[in-house]
């Protein structure tokens, strides 16, 4: 995993400067690895050129699964397996099935979307965060540019970052250990030392 270790990191103070910087850097043909921000920045995803998520389509089909499951379940239970007379209604009485169908639709859509999000965003429970700069959780926007994904040198990228008003820019290397972290070690590290030491120290 040699290829994923060397980054140039740019720190930004303002979201408007950040968005303009992202646009400028991308227009120069430089590939941005990722941008970390303390809060959701409007239009950042457009500036970064991210494609629309498939979440709505997935949600529709999760919901549809719930609808079909609920109707099947109730029809089989109330119509075939154990028919009961309730209030003189037919065994399979569609209006009475609607609330349960609605609830299962919502339940499966919600759970499906949750799991879909965690899986597609690689947010499983054993995921170990690779922290570029801890200030990304406080008051700075952090842009990471992967050196191996770009033809430009470290110094050229630093100059470019400064030209788009980055507050500071520095090189960030991850060791093999940090790059492919073991969850067990990470857990022990967090438990003994607090938050992992792989992040840049605050002044």
């Amino acid at each position: 995993m040699e290829s994923n270790k060397h980054f140039v990191v740019g720190i930004f103070n303002d979201q408007d400067i950040l968005i303009n910087a992202v646009k400028k850097i991308r227009s120069e043909g430089v590939k941005i690895h990722e941008v970390y921000s303390p809060y959701p920045v409007h239009h950042l995803e457009h500036a970064l050129g991210y494609k629309r998520s498939h979440m709505p389509v997935a949600a529709f089909f999760f919901g549809l699964t719930g609808t079909i499951l609920a109707i099947l379940m109730q029809t089989l239970m109330m119509g075939v397996d154990w028919p009961m007379i309730i209030g003189g209604k037919p065994f399979i009485s569609i209006p009475a099935f609607v609330p349960v169908t609605f609830e299962l639709t919502v339940l499966l859509a919600a759970y499906g979307m949750g799991f879909y999000f965690f899986i597609t965003q690689d947010l499983g429970p054993t995921r170990v965060p690779r922290i570029f700069d801890r200030r990304a959780t406080d008051d700075k926007h952090v842009m990471a540019i992967d050196l191996s994904e770009n033809t430009r040198s470290e110094d050229e990228l630093k100059v470019l970052l400064e030209s788009v008003e980055a507050e500071e820019s520095y090189r960030k290397d991850f060791t093999d250990e940090e790059n492919e972290p073991s969850f067990g070690k990470y857990l022990i590290d967090v438990l003994t030392n607090g938050v992992t030491s792989s992040s840049r120290q605050l002044n």
Partner: protein, 447 residues
């Protein structure tokens, strides 16, 4: 990004052109022709033929017999008055929701809608007209439409004495009194009072809105928040009570505690569809340049969401009645579902008002496309007309009710009036509230 849109001219003025007027007169012409054809059909014998049909169920038979006793045979004008009543309720709703929408935006300090708030605001100008029409139609046709207006129902010595309706007389005549005057005083007071307060508050809001154009500043904005808050409180009460009065009291024995909400939901979603339709049409005609698909997207969300809200209310009312199966409650749906005239419209109603907007407006892209929004809004508006048709016609016209030329005609004449009044008043002042303090927020609105 702010710099991209700052030089857009917000000083727009809507022109009520001769071409638009011609289109409206075409609507009026088709409506009048359709109405005349409808009246001729009813006069020639549609009614007599229907009257000979066997009544659908016992309740209808008994009320029919009662009606015959009282000398209320079916005439073509009964149908005309019922149609006018449907449209009174429907267009009062549209006009009222225009004011309600504006009031909600002010109370919620909403900025995104500031750019087009003049459009729903102009709806309110139709309120005085429906107010007068509602009063006139009630004065002319109360005995034909409202069973409870017959004096012999309250007379213990009469064979048609009705203890249930007698128990409700305080609500119609004089609260807390046993006397039954010849006119339903309390009912009239409510009707007149609601319309006067609605029109009054609408005029206050409108006046501040126009003054804001001239003077600017925050003074008028703050005043409008106060008026809007007062209007919302009054609206919350009056919309429910007017739904009981004008719609639910037709089926006098029957009651539903959800009825106020049901009518409000129907009003609100049709009002939202009307606002969206106006916006799309105006934008296509080159007006409201500050709006873009982001505003339409939010209006689309409203239409989508409140279509589901209406369905939720409709179904909640239906399910409880279906499940409890108490005769005096289930009669409402029994009358409609077992009748050849109305049963088909129940499912038609659900399809137009729930399935269609639900499936079509579900995706993000659909809410941002003018063509799709236009189709859905028209369907929703038609669908909710049928909703009111289903609320009002079965109880008033019984087995004589149907959807035909007369329904189309009367509705088109009302539509002409509504469009004329709204567009005429839109053209009198600036189309965009130029001094609205949140106008910039509206211009830069994104979803």
């Amino acid at each position: 990004m702010a710099s991209e849109v700052q030089d857009i001219d917000v000083n727009e003025q809507f022109q009520f052109t001769a071409k638009a007027k011609k289109t409206l007169f075409t609507i009026l012409g088709v409506g009048v022709v359709s109405l005349v054809i409808g009246i001729i059909i009813e006069m020639v014998g549609g009614g007599a033929e229907h009257a000979s049909l066997t009544p659908v169920n016992d309740s209808m038979a008994s009320t029919n017999a009662m009606a015959a006793e009282e000398g209320h045979a079916y005439h073509w004008w009964n149908k005309l008055f019922v149609n006018m009543w449907i449209n009174n309720v429907y267009f009062t709703g549209l006009a009222l929701i225009g004011v309600f929408w504006v009031a909600v935006q002010y109370v919620a300090s909403a900025g995104w809608s500031a750019g087009f708030k003049r459009v729903p605001e102009a709806f309110g100008y139709f309120l005085p007209i429906t107010g007068v029409l509602t009063l006139v139609v009630f004065i002319l046709a109360n005995h034909d439409m409202f069973h409870w207006t017959h004096a012999n129902l309250y007379d213990k010595s009469s064979p048609s004495y009705d203890p249930i309706i007698d128990g409700k007389k305080g609500f119609f005549y004089i609260p807390g009194s046993d006397s039954v005057p010849s006119i339903p005083i309390f009912y009239y007071i409510r009707m007149v009072f609601f319309f006067i307060i609605w029109v009054l508050m609408f005029n206050l809001i409108r006046k501040q809105s126009i003054l804001e154009d001239m003077n600017g500043g925050l003074k008028h904005y703050r005043k409008m928040i106060t008026i809007s808050g007062a209007f919302l409180v009054f609206f919350g009460l009056s919309s429910s009570v007017s739904a009981w009065d004008w719609v639910m009291s037709i089926d006098t024995h029957w009651f539903s505690t959800m009825f106020g909400w049901y009518v409000f939901a129907s009003w609100f979603v049709s009002g939202l569809a009307a606002i969206t339709l106006f916006l799309v049409m105006l934008m296509e005609a080159g007006y409201l340049k500050i709006l873009n698909e982001n505003h339409l997207h939010d209006m689309g969300k409203f239409v989508f969401g409140f279509s589901i809200f209406w369905t939720y209310i409709w179904f909640s009312q239906f399910l409880l009645i279906y499940y409890a199966n108490i005769p005096e409650e289930s009669i409402y749906f029994y009358e409609r579902l077992t009748s050849d005239n109305y049963s088909k419209y129940i499912f038609f109603n659900l399809m137009l008002n729930f399935l269609f907007p639900f499936l079509v407006l579900m995706t993000r892209d659909a809410k941002r496309k003018m063509t799709l929004l236009k189709i859905v809004c028209v369907v929703v508006l038609v669908g909710h007309w049928f909703d009111f048709f289903l609320m009002i016609t079965p109880g008033t016209l019984k087995e004589n009710g149907s959807f035909g030329f007369m329904e189309v005609g009367v509705t088109m004449i009302y539509l002409f009036g509504f469009l004329w009044v709204v567009l005429n008043n839109l053209s009198k002042h600036k189309l965009i509230a130029v001094n609205h303090p949140m106008l910039q927020e509206s211009i830069h609105h994104t979803t």
